[in-house]
Symmetry: C2
Subunit: 249 residues, 2 copies
DNA sequence: ATTCTCCAGATTGTTCAACGATTCAGCATT
DNA sequence: AATGCTGAATCGTTGAACAATCTGGAGAAT
């Protein structure tokens, strides 16, 4: 019986579209796709299920370590078990869930080692991106993220503050104008979001990096990319240290 | 009717195992998995199908742009269409195939833009890894890859030469001891393999980088990581340029 | 009391068959 | 030549089924 598909449209911002965006994002790559450039992006049901789960995951409805039962989710969302399975495959490829053969899929949880690992990736791609500078437009995007953070701070919007920080770092990676780097960064940030629910938004946690971001951005605008890279690196190291202290060990 | 599963075991070296390795590779991350640490790694059928396709892809049996029909492959490999579908999802997440909704999946092909993109990723993670040095064991692994290349050159083994080069660069990323960076590198290399079939192994293509690798490795061993990074960066830039010239535009 | 064996219940992995939806190519129409 | 239609092929999704595997506990053995 076809149910009401109540989860349509509540996809998590960009995640839901990405799966489909990938199918026409490489217009230059596949000649056959050049004709259908403006295809209407209607994500498959599987992708929407994945998006819904991503949403609940970012929202904190689903907690790390929790088990996801195929049948349950299939019924809850009114889709076939097979479709849920495809959604799981999608999420597993993003490391948001872990598959244990014959046991099921569990929401991923970052261990102490993973924290260092994630920050290693961030150091690699963020510092590399900023050291090579970027077009004026891309630099402007970085500045915009700094402004966004400042406004959120003034408004006392803690939620917006965290999101602005993510925009800042995403904008930095954006300097490189590399689709693949953007994807990697998005994935890493998604993994970290999973984690932030433990280290609940700590007021002190965000203190300080507002001006830090400003300084980094200023150095970047002035063309002192080497200095910007150093500042960013220092920030990432400090951030990792903070995370580690918050998260035991 | 259960067929003979003739493709069991012919998985492409590491690719086939990786999907499963991921399910118990994070022993520290998921506490629940600690008990079943030594589980026998029997990849699911879907993973084996994916491995088989990866193999044919690396082998050149399947060419970029080619279409993969679900039903055909399902019959050829004696598995269900649904399973093939899961395999496709796996490959799509690795960018080895591209999904066109309602049209099918096609073997990915790298365009001019993708080349630059891929090299941007490599510059970011390889240079970052080498600049931070690494443990003696990891450095020894880099040296081993250089030796492997030298021996292959002496033996006139062109095939082994290319593979040694990949080992070299993988060893460099290995310096960072980051599982995620390793995965990213493996994926990027897999993508490039797809591409090399066009720029058929050109003798001149490999000329020069043998000593280049040696010099990079020597600098690394001497602790001159900054210099090693510069050399590596120069190599990557030159390599990208070569690729671009070979590949039109 | 601890360990071992074994069994029943639950969940996953995989297959199969079916149906609507979408695309594509060829042909007819204007 | 451009447009619109029709039919075949393929994809997306569903639902049901079955074997394989895991889980947890009851009972037996030490």
């Amino acid at each position: 019986m076809g149910r009401s598909c109540k989860f349509i449209g509540m996809a998590s911002s960009d995640a839901g579209v990405r799966a489909v965006a990938g199918s026409f994002g490489e217009a230059a790559a596949s000649p056959a796709a050049s004709a259908a450039r403006f295809r209407v992006a209607v994500p498959s049901v599987a992708s929407r299920v994945a998006a819904e789960l991503r949403y609940q995951l970012a929202e904190g409805t689903l907690l790390p370590g929790e088990k996801l039962t195929e049948a349950t989710i299939a019924e809850e969302l009114g889709v076939s078990r097979n479709t849920v399975r495809e959604a799981f495959a999608e999420l597993a490829s993003e490391r948001l869930v872990v598959r244990h053969p014959n046991r099921g899929v569990f929401i991923a949880s970052l261990g102490a080692g993973d924290i260092h690992d994630v920050y290693t990736v961030r150091r690699a791609i963020e510092v590399s991106s900023i050291r090579n500078g970027g077009s004026p437009e891309r630099i402007a995007a970085v500045r915009a993220a700094v402004e966004e953070g400042r406004k959120a701070a003034e408004a006392g919007d803690n939620e917006g503050l965290g999101s602005a920080n993510q925009h800042f770092h995403r904008a930095i990676v954006g300097l490189a104008e590399s689709h693949r780097l953007d994807m990697i960064m998005a994935q890493v940030l998604a993994e970290m979001r999973l984690f932030f629910h433990k280290a609940t938004v700590d007021a002190k946690f965000y203190s300080g990096w507002l001006e830090e971001n400003d300084r980094i951005c200023t150095a970047l605008e002035a063309g002192r990319t080497e200095e910007a890279g150093e500042l960013l690196l220092a920030y990432l190291n400090a951030s990792e240290e903070k995370q580690r202290s918050v998260h035991g060990e």
